[in-house]
Amino acid sequence: MIARRRAGTTEIRRDDRDRLGPFGRFYVTFVVVAVVGPFIPLLIASFAFRWNWPDLLPSRWWWEARETARLPLGWDYVFSPVSRVLESAGNTVLIALLVTLLCTLISLPAARVLARERFRGKSFVEFFLLTPLIVPEIAVGLGILVTFIQLGLAGTFTGIILVHLIPTIPYMVRVLTSVFQGLSRDYEEQARVLGAGPLRTMWHVTLPMIMPGVIAGGLFAFLISSNIFLLTFFIGRGRIETLPTLLFSRVSGGGALDAVAAGVALIVCIPGIIMLVLTERFIKEEVFAKGFGG
């Protein structure tokens, strides 16, 4: 859904700018406000010292109070080692990168076979690969935790990376399957006919052609992994904090959004935004569309 909308918006901007009618303009404004809007109070709250109803803006700002404070306030706390924000950000990115890598390695062969071969039980395998999206994490999380405690994997990076593969592999396989479906075998066959071995064909022909799809799938895996709360919370058991678990411990309980919580919430968005910016130019829009339409 989101992917399609994105693709649509970009097209309008690129080709039909002059013809953007009042409704189109309203629509674009609406999307921008809906996406950016929620960040504005967050940004203000992160710089507030005292911001209570009915004040439209903080009655006192962070920078007015920080000089006299005995303990770090607001952003000073967020960026101090005590808050563990940087540590958690490091963990989040490290875990997400490793998950993306492993997930790609596992999904590539699977997607290739699913896209090209016909075999008995294929539809069952396709369905089976989607089950992690159907079964709620909470239903399996507890069982996994108990098993992981036994195996000594609870509270370890290995354990967290393993559970992150569960919800990421289905997406990756789905995206890559449609990529392979759109890639004719002819190119590879021609390379083989011209004398290239299987590895060389893979490296020089297949991979370059599917790269945009791999990057799109990798982006998904990264974004999903860096946002998983429940499984990380269960398996990390407070020993390994990631940005989502850190944010949860800040905002659970329904309290006021204080400066630190607002600051952490803003920081949580950063890895995903960086990833989006880095990968955007590699991704062909149709990959997104196909990944979900096909």
Partner: protein
């Protein structure tokens, strides 16, 4: 949320028990077993403990981590103090102490014995300690074996030792060592509610609520801030007139009939004021849906945003510290409420039986109990002393007076005059269960609610 959490907990423990049954390994780590029995028998010198602690190299402390000031204090004071002994502090910041207790239970069910768990120390009290204790999952009676135990009264003949030997009326058996104190306090914002207008007891609260419907609420039990409010109501409405005294008995000793008799007036009061609480719908016969915030953060959000005029929660110096951090308006002040009794207790450092670094856990307990660190904690972040001030030097006592934050609007004498202890820990579940059935779910007669709560415990 709370229901989900407790259901999850039950599931987790059930699964762990099934799995643990299959793989049960009752033997702990022999080395840790040897240390445990030698230390608890008093056969080890403190130097030997320090030596082992340095060899263990780290200590994992699970504590409620929802306060930046506390987290900062721990990292800047406790961490370096432990580093001097060659022990690295690793803290696990909890949103709910129950999570750490659940982990210990799950590990024990999975057959993790002495020295084979993942948590060395837990900031704990009340029913969480009661849970570990009733499952036999405490390390042992260590509290009077660490050097700084000299700053606590443990002599049973001395009434001053009560808060150290009883945690919610349940014997600590020296299996946990006090590290902080807590006091139930009520804050008002004098910009909205004059001191002279503020209710001073429950009768005045009811009258004031009828005049000002919706201007008060309390945290939803079973969260302890809410449960404590209910306890104070029950104390004040005890028909025997002896307030907290009847509630010091264990649930079994008290019996369900007696419990019904002494708590009925209190619960009826809670039912009576419900329509006048925030969102309660007022007196026009329409039953609204009162808003009970989930925890202290939720309650304070209502208070600072002007939805309620008085907020009651734990934290003797909460108002002073909250003004300093910008959370409360500068016009916030404490009041004495209710005059019939404001609950004060201590909270503790407990060590689970399967602590992976037991010697380092003893060193942590000792470091946290040092007068120097206790006074620093009081002065820097406004956490009440866990040690007993009368055992300190005159110099240290003077320092305490100098650094203690303000009580903002009330005096120590006024507060001391109305201070009462918690209920017995075994009553906590019954009080919560009755509140949930009778007040929140309105599921039947008072008597049925109590009997169900007694049966469920």
């Amino acid at each position: 949320m709370t229901t989900i959490r407790s259901t999850l907990t039950l599931l987790l423990i059930a699964i762990a028990m099934i799995v643990g049954h299959v793989h049960a390994q009752p033997q702990g780590d022999p080395d840790a077993e040897a240390f445990r029995s030698a230390f608890l028998a008093g056969d080890l010198s403190w130097d030997a403990v320090l030596e082992r602690a340095a060899a263990e190299g780290e200590v994992v402390w699970a504590h409620w981590g929802g306060s930046e000031t506390l987290n900062t204090w721990i990292d800047t004071v406790v961490r370096p103090a432990l580093a001097e002994y060659g022990v690295t502090l690793r803290t696990s910041r909890l949103t709910n102490t129950r999570d750490a207790v659940d982990l210990v239970l799950a590990e024990a069910a999975a057959g993790r014995g002495v020295g084979q768990g993942s948590i060395d120390a837990i900031w704990i009290n009340g029913e969480n300690f009661f849970t570990l204790s009733s499952q036999g999952l405490n390390f042992g009676s260590f509290a009077d074996l660490v050097p700084n135990s000299q700053y606590f009264h443990f002599d049973t003949s001395n009434p001053a030792s009560g808060p150290n030997l009883f945690d919610f009326g349940y014997p600590t058996n020296r299996e946990e060592i006090p590290w902080s104190g807590d006091q139930y306090m009520c804050a008002i914002d004098t910009a909205r509610l004059e001191r002279s207008e503020a209710p001073a007891d429950f009768a005045e609260l009811e009258a004031w609520l009828r005049e000002n419907p919706g201007r008060f609420t309390y945290v939803r039990p079973p969260q302890y801030n809410g449960n404590t409010f209910v306890q104070t109501v029950l104390y004040a409405h005890n028909p025997d007139g002896d307030g907290y005294v009847s509630f010091q008995n264990a649930a079994d000793a008290l019996g369900v009939d007696e419990f019904i008799r002494i708590t009925q007036p209190g619960y009826e009061y809670l039912q009576r004021i419900e329509p006048f609480l925030l969102g309660g719908g007022g007196s026009d016969g329409m039953r609204g849906s009162p808003i009970y915030p989930e925890d202290q953060n939720g309650l304070e959000a209502l208070f600072v945003n002007g939805e309620i005029d008085m907020a009651c929660q734990f934290g003797m110096y909460n108002t002073a510290v909250s003004i300093e951090t910008g959370r409360f308006a500068e016009t916030a002040e404490n009041v004495i409420f209710p005059a019939q009794g404001m609950i004060k207790n201590k909270n503790f450092i407990g060590v689970p039986i399967n602590a992976p670094n037991p010697a380092a856990a003893m060193v942590l307990a000792n470091v946290l109990a040092s007068p120097e660190n206790q006074i620093s904690k009081l002065g820097t972040i406004g956490y009440v002393l866990g040690i007993d001030a009368d055992l300190l030097t005159a110099e240290q006592q003077a320092e305490i007076d100098a650094v203690a934050p303000s009580l903002v609007g009330i005096t120590y004498d006024e507060l001391g005059a109305v201070t009462v202890p918690d209920t017995n820990a075994s009553l906590v579940d019954v009080i919560e269960g009755t509140w949930t059935a009778f007040i929140e779910r309105r599921s039947g007669s008072f008597e049925d609610s109590v009997r169900a709560a007694f049966a469920d415990r």
